[in-house]
Symmetry: C2
Subunit: 122 residues, 2 copies
């Protein structure tokens, strides 16, 4: 490199508070599917995800559940016995295959990321 022209540095450095949320979102579908071997309703999932370290709003989870149901990877049933009807979700056969595929993809991305971080300065 010769004749290097310095670009003006940006005046306002900020650390993006959403990056960890972005990281979590990528695995949320997989973690949600791991919780659905038994029927669970929405708020139950929110609570279990939170316990597992995935703090998530119902407004974030429900579109994921809807998408999975449209894909046929979840089935849902209404329980109308209680004071309020509740929609229960459960993983389907198709969902079990998706979960396996996602888990494989996860391990690949995890290992590649860990290797890149260990690599550090070349």
């Amino acid at each position: 490199m010769e004749e290097v022209v310095e670009a003006a540095p940006s005046p306002m450095p900020t650390l993006d508070p959403h990056v960890e949320a972005e990281l979590r979102r990528g695995v949320l579908t997989l973690v949600t599917l791991t919780l659905l071997d038994q029927p669970r309703y929405g708020y139950d999932l929110v609570r279990l995800l939170s316990q597992a370290g995935f703090e998530v709003e119902e407004g974030t989870l429900y579109p994921i559940l809807r998408r999975l149901e449209q894909q046929g990877t979840l089935t849902s049933t209404w329980d109308t016995a209680g004071a309020r009807p509740r929609k229960y979700y459960r993983i389907s056969e198709e969902g079990l295959r998706l979960r396996d595929d996602l888990a494989t993809a996860w391990r690949r991305v995890r290992d590649a990321t860990d290797a890149a971080l260990e690599g550090g300065t070349p």
Copy 2:
């Protein structure tokens, strides 16, 4: 649960081919920052990311580089010595802090995901 009403199953199960891309996108900023301890130009980064297992289009990488530069976590310099001017990117002091934060967030999400996968059927 009593009086369960079955919801109609979706007729078209599909496995989303974009989920692994979604997983990768979440860590792309972090992996990119690990490559910028020395000045590198865009296409060089695309090549190194691909070698590291992060196949990425220039059209995906450049907006990330722009955002990081606007945040002040990268600096850039133009090398005008060659046949074509090339923009080189390098991590800034602020970027080193972001990289540390992202690496911490990554380990947290990674461990939570691995634990959820191991947990399996409760």
